[in-house]
Amino acid sequence: MVARSYAAPPTPWSKNLAEPQIDETAYVHSFSNVIGNVHISSNVLIAPGTSIRADEGTPFHIGAGTNVQDGVVIHGLEQGRVIGDDGKQYSVWVGKNTSITHMALIHGPAYVGDDCFIGFRSTVFNARIGNGCIVMMHVLIQDVEIPAGKYVPSGATITNQQQADRLPDVQQVDREFARHVIGVNNALRSGY
């Protein structure tokens, strides 16, 4: 699959023209915008209409088997970094086998762990989301660290750490619903 991608434009804080590094098994749709220092691992799906621009905060990492769906935006502030699982600093780290569904916004500094689900139109900004979390739809998560395995219901606004600490654990029914939604999305892979 030929990916249309671009070097980040030179800026006062980044003089090099970094280009994305995309694993050859990843599928990056040509109508997506992938710009700058972005590492895309094996079997990642980047759908059309996505915008992944490492032109301010940089670099980004997207782990193996992760899906990034139509209309998703990944971007980062110039300042602020998270520590990725490899111990290095990233503006945005997304782990393995995670689903970032339609129109979600992941704005760095942000860390999203492995096996997570980020629902339609939810926003993650200046936050860490532990492995196996399920974040439903129209959610705002900002300035907090969410422990692994937590469930964030639709419409929630989680902007202080007490709220984050009291979130309920993911239940089987939540996994099933997320799988249902992802099932819809996975059909995309065959479609493209």
Partner: protein
């Protein structure tokens, strides 16, 4: 619930794939994504207006946008859905696997058809959220390490 921001679209190309039938009197902004899975269709009737950045994804059934419907910018419709004639769906609304009746007016930022587990996450949270608890607990921003 906070109204999520409209994403400025990175490019103005529209992407249409699968079986998509668009009446020639429909008005469609740039930067839309219409995707019909196999055995599903997207049907857009006469006089429909569709705003920028709208995503329609038909899956396990058809997405039908009936005559005279208006979809504001950034609307997302996923699954099997009918938007009834002359309905008006506000910007940044999500419609998941459900339908909107004819002539209905849906406020901006709505979420329709969400059947996930709804619960009141410890409402006690409100209490200490308000009186600004002094400790470092209110000092989150943990990820910004560098």
């Amino acid at each position: 619930m906070s109204l999520s921001p409209l994403h400025p679209i990175g490019n103005f190309n529209s992407h249409i794939s699968g079986e998509v039938i668009i009446d020639r009197t429909a008005a469609i902004a740039p930067g839309v994504v219409f995707h019909a899975d196999p055995n599903s269709k997207i049907i857009i009737a006469a006089g429909v207006c569709i705003g920028m950045g709208v995503v329609l994804h038909a899956h396990d059934g058809n997405v039908e946008i009936e005559t005279g419907v208006n979809l504001g910018a950034g609307v997302l419709v996923v699954g099997k859905a009918t938007i009834g004639a002359n309905a008006c769906v506000g910007a940044a609304t999500t419609v998941f696997n459900c339908s909107v009746a004819p002539k209905q007016v849906i406020p901006p930022g709505s979420l329709l058809g969400d059947t996930s587990r709804h619960l009141t996450v410890d409402s006690t949270v409100e209490v200490e959220a308000a009186p600004t608890p002094p400790t470092d607990a209110t000092q989150p921003s943990p990820p910004t390490s560098a």
